[in-house]
């Protein structure tokens, strides 16, 4: 017999509650609380990094994907996508290290490294999503007298939106997960607490970085999921 959802949820809540008791009893909570000011300051840095690099990746990646999907780019698009695919295989840590080589330390290389890491899934999904729009829809739209721009904005993009959003969601997950590494090149963020905590074998400090990072990742993914559910028109949204 499979457990009912109510029972599963009850068990999960109980587990969280017990974990809380354990954390409180072991004194970890006080240890984490010691870093309250650091958490607030670094979390802000962290969020700025995620938002700016992720936002820039969306702003650059979607138009790039659209551009690659245009018939005039047909011959070159696959070559460009291959370059992007090779880019994806380079580990993000390596991308960050390489961008430090060029841009020095601090915010700019961190921003750039994260931007590049999140760009790829967005471009790829936008491109693939637009190509997957059935040819007969484009034919109907053109035959009814839409201009190329109208076909793109009213038919192609709305019908590719779900795939585009999935790319953005993946990109943001990669972005949030990679941002702690920004500390390694002087970009700041919650990685500072995590890496320092590891070096000093200070569990409290480590958790003071790790727990907010994890919470942020969950929150971003939740937000992206909600956006995907609500912003995509009902007719082309498999979620509703």
């Amino acid at each position: 017999m499979t457990p009912s959802p109510g029972l599963t949820r009850g068990l999960a809540l109980l587990l969280v509650f017990l974990l809380g008791i354990w954390v409180a009893a072991s004194g970890l909570l006080e240890q984490i609380a010691l870093y309250r000011d650091d958490i607030a300051y670094l979390a802000r840095q962290h969020v700025v990094l995620v938002a700016s690099s992720g936002g820039a990746a969306i702003l650059a990646g979607v138009p790039m994907g659209v551009w690659l999907s245009r018939p005039s780019m047909e011959r070159h698009a696959e070559t460009v996508m291959q370059v992007f695919n090779i880019g994806t295989t380079i580990p993000t840590l390596a991308v960050i290290a390489l961008s430090m080589m060029v841009l020095g330390i601090g915010f700019p290389p961190a921003f750039f490294g994260l931007f590049v890491a999140s760009l790829l899934p967005i471009v790829r999904n936008t491109y693939a999503g637009l190509l997957a729009v059935p040819a007969h829809l484009k034919e109907a739209a053109t035959g009814m007298g839409m201009t190329r721009r109208q076909v793109l904005v009213r038919v192609e993009i709305p019908n590719a939106l779900y795939v585009v959003f999935s790319g953005i969601r993946t990109a943001m997950a990669v972005n949030v997960g990679t941002t702690p590494l920004a500390f390694l090149i002087g970009g700041g963020g919650l990685g500072e607490l995590i890496f320092t905590g590891i070096d000093l074998m200070d569990t409290g400090m480590l958790l003071a970085g790790a727990v907010p990072t994890a919470a942020l990742a969950v929150a971003v993914d939740f937000l992206m999921g909600q956006a995907q559910l609500r912003l995509i028109p009902k007719g082309v949204n498999p979620l509703r």
Partner: protein
């Protein structure tokens, strides 16, 4: 009116050029449906798509209502031509209402006027606007989607429509229903329609004219009856099928063939009176009708000759009756089913309206084979 003049399309491929349409000349009069018919790859779809320039013609001219369309902008031209495709092509991201309003909005109609039009059109094809306007295409059945596809093309009331196998993807039962609905609509709207099909039965049913294509050329452009009765060559004869004469049965209704002034009598009439009536009309049988003029039986001259009494003593029941509006295929089917040489016809209210005999039917089929029509055809032929 649509007129094509020397319309030609060559596709350049490595190796050889392919001629998809080779100097196509034809004219579709205003308010008629012209079916472009032929096997796949014969150039019928290419010819159609050159009209709204989804495929740019290599050479030749297209006139719509007397105007040369080559001077018009692509976008402007397309917005004034209704276009229906086999895959329907409803936009899944838009509601039914938004889909229907696409062209009116492109033409700059007021949103309220466009919406009102959408509701009217849904009503026209028997879909309740309150129920369907807000639905998305995926929430509609195939038949409903195609109805919406057709009315979307009609939304801005274009004088000309292009339909590329519009009913090809619908199951046979629904296809018949939608075809009938469409013909009823067309009888009122009188659009000038080019309609691509590969189904001879559909072509005969829907078309005022049929153009049969092969390898980019028109083999024959004629009325369905002429195509079936006088195929121009072996290819056309082969394409329309060995049963082409039977197909012609669908083109005529019982009304066109039936003898309306057949003698009638009533059950209580005297045999002598009935016989006299039949002799006067030169008929060997009379239909017995009731007080409401409904056919209830028949009597024959042989059985009654020399007898006395009332008609009711000699009356036989009728095996079947057919409505005047039935096509000859249904009539012949009834005749074969009941193994009879003739049937009584009834009007919409079930009253007797004449009789139809097997010789009448064969005479009707023979009609276009007559000498004067043949001569006429020879004059028209190039």
């Amino acid at each position: 009116m649509i007129r094509l003049e020397d319309l030609t399309k060559r596709f350049k491929t490595p190796g050889a050029d392919i001629v998809a349409a080779d100097r196509v000349n034809m004219e579709v009069p205003t308010g008629e449906i012209c079916i472009l018919l032929g096997p796949s790859g014969c150039g019928k779809t290419t010819a159609l798509k050159m009209i709204n320039r989804l495929i740019p013609p290599t050479s030749g001219k297209i006139y719509i209502d007397g105007r040369d369309t080559s001077g018009l902008d692509d976008i402007e031209l397309r917005r004034n031509i209704g276009y229906v495709i086999q895959q329907i092509g409803l936009f899944p991201n838009m509601t039914v209402e938004e889909n229907i309003c696409v062209v009116p909005r492109l033409l700059g109609w007021d949103i309220r006027k466009a919406r009102q039009r959408a509701a009217e059109l849904l009503d026209l094809v028997g879909l309740d606007p309150r129920q369907f306007l807000r639905r998305y295409p995926k929430e509609l059945s195939g038949g409903q989607q195609q109805r919406v596809g057709v009315i979307r093309a009609l939304a801005a009331d274009p004088p000309v429509m292009l339909m590329d196998e519009p009913f090809g993807a619908i199951d046979p039962i629904n296809r018949e229903i939608i075809q009938d609905e469409f013909l009823k609509m067309q009888a009122e709207l009188k659009k000038t329609i080019m309609f691509v099909s590969h189904d001879i039965d559909e072509a005969v049913k829907m078309g005022d004219k049929i153009a049969i294509f092969r390898a980019g050329r028109i083999e024959q452009y004629d009325s369905p009856d002429m195509i079936l009765a006088h195929p121009a060559n072996a290819f056309v004869a082969d394409f329309v099928g060995a049963d082409r004469t039977l197909k012609r049965l669908r083109l005529l209704t019982a009304e066109a063939v039936a003898t309306a002034d057949a003698p009638v009598t009533s059950r209580s009439a005297k045999v002598a009176d009935a016989l006299q009536q039949m002799t006067a009309a030169g008929a060997r049988r009379a239909v017995v009708i009731d007080g409401d003029h409904r056919p209830v039986g028949f009597v024959t001259a042989e059985e009654m000759s020399g007898a006395a009494g009332a008609v009711r003593d000699f009356a036989h029941p009728l095996p079947a009756t057919v409505p005047l509006r039935a096509d000859l295929r249904a009539v012949v089917s009834e005749m074969f089913a009941h193994d009879t040489m003739w049937l009584a016809c009834t009007d919409d209210r079930g009253r007797f309206a004449g009789i139809i005999t097997q010789p009448d039917v064969t005479a009707a089929l023979r009609a276009t084979y007559g000498p004067e029509k043949d001569a006429l055809r020879r004059q028209e032929a190039p």
